[in-house]
């Protein structure tokens, strides 16, 4: 039994990486999370993909001043993180550092929409702040759902799901190839950066000319690699078609998962569940 309040150590692959390797590392973490074996991981990737898209669609379909009706939807990403045994703290940090574009644009709302909207104990809150809070909430919900999706499914399985849904084969193969060589090439890029920083001081060597030479070298090596890959593919009987050898079956579990969540999203879209809950609570306490 662990001491109460003791911090649960993060899994080894969630620990703080070396600064240089961050990007590469991030890619690996989510994919390794997807290798776990929980009931959620065992679901058909199509079911998870469709349900998550349904979730995002539901979240963005609310009007821009909505906050309370959005809150019940947090249950979906929380469920994915909990049942999928994903490191919640790690994902939360990832959401915090994720692309700030939405927040950057949303933060202007309070400046342009100053009409008071809510009175709370005599303090008026303007419509702009409400809609900004709504943007932040949408951002957290959509981003966490997408990250959880990859954490419980894995990239390859998502590609398979896409291909079964009807995305063109050429694009699927492109995605799989890209993902496979991502690790190889980012490694190569990192080695070049490390070599450059070992040989130069005070930021020298980061000028455009050397940068272009490095990038060009990397590009040439990449193209040579493509040629070698192509040759070895030909040696193994490549005929222009890549066969994806993984079968999925859409079972009753998958159906139940999809139907349950999609109907919950429908419910949360049609009724303001938190308001109902709040009224219920105040009626009971009154």
């Amino acid at each position: 039994m662990k001491k109460a309040g003791a911090k649960k150590p993060l899994p080894f692959f969630c620990m703080k990486p070396m600064k240089l390797n961050t990007t590469l590392f991030e890619l690996g973490v989510l994919d390794r999370l997807a290798e776990q074996n929980t009931p959620l991981h065992r679901l058909d990737p199509r079911a998870k993909l469709i349900t998550t898209l349904g979730f995002i669609f539901t979240v963005v379909s609310f009007n821009r001043y909505e906050i309370s009706a959005l809150l019940p939807l947090t249950i979906y990403p929380v469920f994915l993180i909990g049942a999928g045994d994903l490191p919640g703290r790690y994902l939360f940090k990832k959401i915090l550092i994720a692309s700030p574009f939405a927040l950057f644009v949303g933060v202007f709302n309070p400046f342009f929409d100053r009409a008071p909207m809510v009175m709370l104990h005599g303090v008026a809150i303007s419509a702009g702040w409400i809609s900004f809070a709504s943007v932040v909430l949408r951002f957290v919900l959509t981003v966490s759902a997408a990250l959880a999706l990859i954490g419980i499914t894995g990239f390859n399985a998502i590609c398979m799901a896409l291909s079964r849904i009807g995305v063109p084969r050429a694009f699927i193969i492109q995605l799989l190839f890209l993902y496979r060589y991502l690790f190889v090439l980012t490694d190569e890029g990192l080695r070049m950066v490390r070599a450059r920083s070992l040989r130069s001081f005070k930021g020298r060597g980061t000028g455009l000319k050397i940068y272009a030479n490095m990038l060009g070298q990397l590009l040439l090596r990449t193209m040579d690699r493509a040629q070698r890959i192509h040759r070895s593919m030909l040696c193994r009987g490549f005929d222009g078609e890549i066969r994806l050898n993984r079968e999925f079956s859409f079972t009753i579990h998958d159906l139940v998962f999809c139907l349950f969540w999609l109907s919950f999203f429908g419910l949360a879209r049609s009724f303001n569940l938190s308001l109902l809950l709040g009224q219920l609570a105040s009626r009971m306490t009154a």
Partner: protein, 345 residues
């Protein structure tokens, strides 16, 4: 400048998904007809190259801050428009899934903004005529810089239009444009310089690569008309379908505004793209507003404590906040329960 889910409306997201999806299908067809098999691994590793290139930073001349390559224009130059478009799209898919850059619904917008403009506007209309069949150093530089600037300007403008049409952000159109365009002019110039420098390196080290790419683009028979036709048809079809769908069911805006405020007009700004879209939606709708006015009436009657935001009713907002807090607690409890359930006992 990755567009984010949080700023999108379902209609805009859906239309852009359809447009980008149509382009992906079209490019896949084109490549299947034309390739010798070599382009399969080449496109794959070139996508990975973009990620690798983003790990190498450089000092932006004159500023001291560091930047990295975006890559749309460079890919068009090296692979030709179709392969480049698919490669950019695949890079964006990985970014959306792993780095939460943009979002899944915004993926359509991002593929369009960052893929369509360099591949199908800047490359055929600027780079190709400027660099020509037998490129020289000067021509490559001019083509790369102008191409990168144009595609980033258009991409940034695309972001502005999509945000405006979605109606989540309150930023006035001109302010947003004035924020986005100058920043992306600077980014575009830097991107153009890098693209030119790398293209020149390739040109002096292995000129045949550029020639092959140019030839490849010519061999696949580029036709702007077809690209535009594909785009137009998918956009119209899905736009129409989505707006019907959206109005046949409780339209997000009207319905919930009516529910929370008691009046529908509060929300709709008549001016701007969003207003235009909304009025278009109203005109094309199956059941314009009719059917669910009745159901609104019922809803109001059924729930005695209707919240009325502007008419400052403390009770309603308090129970909204209490309920919201309870909901969050509930969600947290479910998460904790699930988490603890699977701990080994």
């Amino acid at each position: 400048m990755h567009m984010a889910d949080a700023l999108l409306s379902p209609t805009v997201g859906g239309v852009m998904w359809a447009a980008s999806g149509g382009l992906v299908v079209y490019c896949s067809r084109k490549l299947r007809d034309a390739t010798d098999g070599m382009s399969v691994p080449l496109m794959g590793v070139m996508g990975a190259f973009i990620f690798a290139a983003q790990m190498i930073n450089f000092t932006i001349p004159g500023t001291g801050s560091s930047g990295h390559l975006g890559g749309g224009m460079l890919l068009s130059i090296l692979l030709g428009p179709y392969a480049a478009f698919l490669t950019i799209a695949s890079v964006l898919v990985v970014q959306a899934l792993f780095f939460a850059d943009g979002g899944l619904l915004a993926l359509g917008c991002n593929i369009f903004n960052l893929g369509f403009f360099p591949c199908f506007i800047a490359y055929p209309l600027l780079y190709k005529p400027l660099a020509g069949e037998n490129p020289t150093r000067g021509r490559i530089i001019a083509g790369s810089i102008l191409g990168a600037v144009l595609s980033l300007q258009l991409g940034a403008f695309g972001v502005v239009l999509e945000t405006m049409a979605s109606g989540i952000s309150e930023l006035p159109f001109h302010v947003f444009v004035m924020l986005m365009q100058p920043i992306h002019l600077a980014i575009g110039v830097v991107e153009g310089l890098v693209t030119a420098a790398v293209a020149l390196f390739i040109f002096s080290a292995r000129p045949e690569i550029l020639r092959i790419a140019a030839g490849h683009a010519a061999a696949t028979g580029f036709s702007m008309k077809k690209v535009l036709a594909v785009l137009g048809i998918t956009a119209i079809l899905t736009g129409g379908a989505l707006s019907w769908f959206a109005s046949a069911y409780p339209d997000g805006l009207e319905w919930s505004m009516a529910k929370t405020s008691g009046k529908e007009e509060l929300e709709a700004p008549e001016d701007g793209v969003h207003g235009a879209l909304a009025s278009l939606q109203e005109k094309t709708a199956f059941l314009p507003d009719y059917a669910f006015k009745a159901s609104q009436g019922e809803a109001v009657e059924a729930e005695p404590v209707e919240p009325a935001w502007p008419a400052v009713e403390a009770g309603a907002s308090v129970s909204g906040i209490v309920g919201g807090g309870l909901t969050l607690l509930l969600a947290g409890a479910v998460g904790l329960f699930l988490k603890n359930r699977r701990k080994p006992v």
